[in-house]
């Protein structure tokens, strides 16, 4: 059987049961009775609050939502949500979520992971979940440090990071999670920030709506082991820190010109196939790249992702880099089983068909 033409449900949650007429949910319904135990000031609190407030908006039945996590500070997340959940083992949450999502079309499946969990020990599962395009949303909390093990450098830490395990500075070149996801054939890739509730919620809504694997990188401050990692880009006086991406809009940022609505900096095609920052005033309007998250070719999205600082973060594009439709692994796997089961049903009950299966081929009877 090759690929199957499915009537592609547009929404990630299309097959998940919704609340009945007159039923409502609030953030409180999604809060479990467990005391939240992150360090005071941890960025995880803001994300948890945002998720608890956002989930009721989906209108899904609470019992049909599953959160799966790995190991790390952020992986405590499922305990604080009154849905089904599994706090699993280090790095493996995407594989467990793949099993859940493939087994059941009626579940909304979420993975909560961190930079160490998803990009170091679990890197393999992350890239394969993305290429398979299993219907789930992965929230990757990136604080650029190992928090739970008390402060070693992570695969997103900048080179030269001085930590307990690297007293004279780390040597590893970091991953850019967005670039990595785009390279891994992801169909939905976005980046947002813990402190920007509005942006975070909008990105979560788009991610949940996407059918396939959605990867959302969330910049998240660790006040204990990597405090201030995102201060430069959160600084309101730093107009050029964030490059917001909006599908269909020219990509400009910085000081906004009231007349044109454009920022004073713009993204234009660079030499060598990349993307460069230019002064908006000095380039022709048509030279400014119009963001196309739905472009089947991820090259421009990748080029934009490279504008993220690899060292201390002074500049970063945020928003939805890529959002394309591609058949999902789980829809197709279920369709293969359903097609085979439907055509076999006419041949008898499962017991009868099993008897026929195990009795096939050369047999002989002894009286």
């Amino acid at each position: 059987m090759s690929t199957i033409d499915l009537p592609m449900p547009q929404l990630g949650t299309a097959l998940v049961p919704t609340l009945g007429e007159g039923e409502t949910q609030t953030a409180k319904d999604f809060s479990s009775d467990q005391e939240v135990r992150w360090c005071p000031g941890c960025g995880d609190y803001a994300v948890l609050k945002a998720v608890q407030s956002f989930l009721p908006d989906l209108g899904l039945r609470r019992e049909n939502i599953v959160f799966v996590s790995g190991i790390g500070c952020s992986s405590r997340f499922p305990y604080y949500l009154d849905t089904y959940g599994m706090h699993s083992i280090h790095g493996r949450a995407p594989s467990i979520a793949t099993g859940i999502a493939t087994a059941r079309e009626d579940l909304s499946v979420w993975v909560v992971t961190g930079d160490g969990d998803a990009l170091s020990i679990g890197g393999n599962h992350l890239i394969h979940a993305l290429r398979r395009n299993v219907n789930m949303t992965i929230l990757l909390f990136n604080n650029r440090i190992y928090g739970l093990t008390k402060g070693q450098y992570s695969p997103t830490s900048e080179v030269g990071k001085v930590t307990k395990s690297t007293p004279v500075g780390s040597l590893d070149h970091p991953f850019n999670p967005v670039s990595l996801a785009l390279g891994a054939e992801a169909s939905f890739v976005a980046r947002t920030i813990d402190s920007d509730r509005k942006h975070l919620t909008a990105v979560l809504a788009a991610a949940a709506a996407h059918r396939g694997t959605s990867l959302v990188e969330i910049y998240q401050n660790c006040p204990i082991f990597n405090d201030g990692a995102f201060d430069a880009i959160k600084d309101r006086d730093n107009a050029h820190a964030l490059i917001p991406l909006t599908h269909g809009e020219p990509i400009t940022f910085g000081v906004r010109d009231e007349a044109t609505g454009l920022g004073d900096k713009a993204l234009v095609r660079g030499v060598g196939g990349g993307v460069e920052v230019a002064d908006t005033a000095s380039v022709a309007a048509e030279a400014i790249i119009v963001h196309d998250a739905q472009n089947p070719d991820p090259s421009t999205a990748f080029a934009i992702s490279r504008l993220t600082d690899a060292g201390y973060l002074n500049r970063s594009p945020i928003g939805i880099f890529r959002q394309v439709e591609r058949p999902t692994y789980d829809d197709q796997a279920r369709a293969q089983v359903a097609t085979a089961s439907a055509s076999a049903a006419a041949q008898g009950s499962p017991e009868e068909r099993l008897t026929a299966l195990i009795s096939a081929g050369d047999t002989w009877t002894v009286d």
């Binding site: 019992e63 089904y84 083992i89 594989s95 467990i96």
Partner: protein, 659 residues
């Protein structure tokens, strides 16, 4: 049949087909097996091949062989020493000669005894040129040199194939010749070839022509004067088929899905010798079977754990190295108490070891190979056909007790085959998933009101199993995970707990739950025909055949010995301790350095003695019989001589006494 031919009656024959790994020996053996199965002989087979897909041509490491033992009576092993060797080249002769008893028949393809091939096999001169001379290394054997390749090429001339393609049909010529010698039915092979080569008429024609030419060669030439007859075996009533262990195991997993009315989910990563199970299950989507070929071993079990949480019958299949990778996830399944069948088709180890050879050295890995106290039930099949029932049993335990279960097969069971009485599906155990549907605990809240709650660790009082509450069930939302949970009868709410007393109690509860499985096991069957044996031989897994055959030899020689074979290695059946106490000596034959014997000694303080070989091949019955004989002599204080039932000629007879 020409007048000069005689027909001799035999009660059993062991044939080994050996050639280069590209010579099609596995196919030849498999066809001969099917013919013998349809004819009604009892049989056991032993395929033996290199790990390399195409090892260097003509060399000893590149030799692939297939042994079949077939008989007019009930047999248990593929036999220790072949009566007939078919050697397609010098390397195949050299690699197998040492296993032949004096008097054995050797059929060689003279065409491949070229200088080049003799050099590759390490022969300085052609042994076929020395027949009857002083330095004849084949003296004492009945050597039949036949130009198999030359005659085959001639026989298939009309199909206009290249010489290379024409020569490739020589395995069918050999099959035809042996089929004539042993009066095998030819129809199944013709039908098989017609199906296999339906799209390539030339190749089909050549293969059938070569097969028939082989048969006719036996019938018409003077070279072969004797045809042998091995009557059908007396077997229990039923409908039979020939089946390999991997196929039976796959069917057993499908059957477990049918009997539990659960969709089956397999998460797996390809590995020898377990991949066939993945291949087979991927064909059975019509039974609601989903197979996921994962990115690695860990993802295979991870996806299975996810599917189990979601309410499906979850399976992961692998071999020893894969288990090493899955260990942490197995611990998660222990901790979350989710049903999961973990199939380990054991192979030679450690590390990559001997990928295509058999071994039983992963028992202690299954028992203890995890961090923390992480008990996992263990089930082991004892023969290729038994893999079916063992798979159903593993699924029964997993679902009933909400636990991961090891199913320990091995490379010999996986690829070996035997006649299998096709079971009635209705007689298989029915497996109840019993998903939780509502609250299971009443608590009093702060206001003093009674509140109905769901406790994920409120246990069944008999089995100690916790509820299987699957997503989509309103009101039962809960979180599980690898961290210790409050899950005692008083605190089954399942929240994270670091309380020392809770952890101690949870460790004991998980252990006790596995122990309670013993309540559901039938009493062991002790095979002690005289009731006077002082020596008990106890084994597990694929050694059932050799141990049974060895015990029969000892009994035929006039001595008493008892046999018990374990299907359940964790927990042990409740009556095992009493049975062990009933004998003066306990012998534990294993294809490892003494893993079950270590467990028995630890559990029962019994002086279990090991009989251990790790050749990558099944134990040899005659050698084991000698070892049992020594122990019987020791226990009974007398000299033991097994005579022809031990290593002395003619040996290799494993019929039960008074059969």
């Amino acid at each position: 049949m020409s007048q000069t031919k005689q027909v001799k009656q035999l009660d059993r024959v062991i044939i080994r087909f050996a050639g280069d790994s590209g010579d099609g020996m596995q196919l030849t053996g498999d066809r001969f097996t099917q013919e013998s199965a349809v004819f009604g002989n009892d049989l056991v087979t032993l395929p033996n091949f290199p790990a390399e897909i195409r090892a260097p041509q003509g060399t000893i490491p590149g030799v692939s062989s297939f042994q079949i033992h077939f008989a007019d009576h009930d047999i248990l092993t593929a036999g220790d020493r072949p009566d007939v060797l078919v050697a397609m080249n010098p390397a195949a002769l050299k690699a197998n000669l040492g296993d032949l008893p004096r008097g054995a028949t050797i059929i060689v393809d003279t065409h491949d005894f070229s200088k080049r091939n003799l050099d590759k096999a390490g022969y300085t001169s052609n042994p076929l040129d020395k027949l009857g001379e002083v330095d004849d290394i084949l003296a004492g054997f009945q050597v039949q040199p036949v130009d198999l390749t030359g005659i085959t090429v001639e026989a298939v001339k009309e199909f206009g194939l290249s010489r290379k393609d024409a020569a490739r049909a020589k395995n069918m010529f050999a099959l035809g010749l042996l089929s004539w010698m042993y009066g095998r039915p030819t129809e199944p092979t013709i039908a098989f070839l017609e199906k296999k080569f339906a799209k390539v008429p030339d190749i089909l024609g050549a293969n059938i022509a070569a097969f028939k030419a082989g048969w006719n060669y036996g019938e018409t030439t003077e070279t072969f004067v004797v045809q042998y007859e091995i009557k059908p075996a007396r077997m229990h009533a039923g409908t039979y088929r020939n089946i390999t262990g991997n196929l039976a195991l796959s069917y057993g997993l499908v059957a477990a899905g049918v009997r539990s009315q659960l969709p089956v989910f397999l998460g797996s990563y390809p590995i020898t010798p377990a991949s066939d199970i993945l291949h087979e299950l991927s064909k059975h989507k019509s039974f609601g079977v989903t197979t996921l070929q994962a990115e690695d071993e860990i993802a295979g079990i991870g996806a299975a754990i996810g599917a189990s949480f979601a309410g499906q019958l979850a399976i992961t299949t692998t071999s020893g190295p894969g288990i090493a990778l899955k260990s942490e996830a197995i611990g998660l399944a222990v901790m979350t108490e989710l049903p999961l069948v973990i199939v380990n088709v054991q192979r030679g180890g450690p590390s990559t070891g001997l990928p295509t050879k058999t071994e039983q050295a992963d028992l202690l890995q299954a028992m203890y190979g995890r961090n923390g106290e992480a008990p996992v039930p263990i089930v082991a099949p004892q023969s290729p056909g038994d893999c079916f029932a063992a798979a159903v049993e593993a699924a029964r335990i997993a679902i009933t007790y909400r636990t991961p279960v090891f199913l320990l097969s091995d490379g010999y069971l996986a690829n070996g085959s035997e006649p299998w009485a096709i079971p009635s599906i209705d007689e298989l155990p029915k497996i109840e998933a019993n998903f939780a549907t509502g609250p299971n605990h009443t608590s009093t809240n702060a206001k003093g009101e009674q509140v109905e709650e769901f406790w994920p660790y409120a246990r069944d009082k008999d089995t100690l199993a916790r509820p299987w509450a699957i997503p989509g069930t309103a009101g039962l939302e809960h979180r599980i995970g690898g961290l210790e949970k409050a899950g005692t009868p008083e605190t089954g709410h399942g929240n994270i707990s670091y309380d020392p007393a809770n952890h101690d109690q949870m460790v004991r509860l998980r252990q006790e739950k596995v122990q309670r499985i013993a309540d559901s096991l039938p009493p062991l069957e002790v095979d002690d025909p005289s009731g006077e044996a002082k020596v008990l031989v106890i084994g597990w897994g694929s050694t059932y055949g050799p141990i049974g055959a060895a015990c029969r030899r000892v009994r035929r020689a006039g001595y008493n010995v008892a046999q018990v074979h374990l299907r359940h290695l964790n927990p042990f059946p409740k009556d095992l301790g009493e049975i062990l106490k009933g004998y003066d000596r306990v012998l534990v034959p294993e294809m490892n350095l003494g893993q079950l014997s270590k467990m028995l000694r630890a559990e029962y303080l019994v002086d279990a003695q090991g009989y251990n070989h790790v050749y990558g091949l099944p134990l040899k019955a005659a050698e084991l019989a000698e070892a049992i004989g020594v122990l019987v002599g020791d226990a009974e204080g007398r000299e033991i001589d097994l005579g022809e039932h031990g290593l002395n000629l003619p040996a290799d007879h494993e019929e039960a006494p008074n059969a």
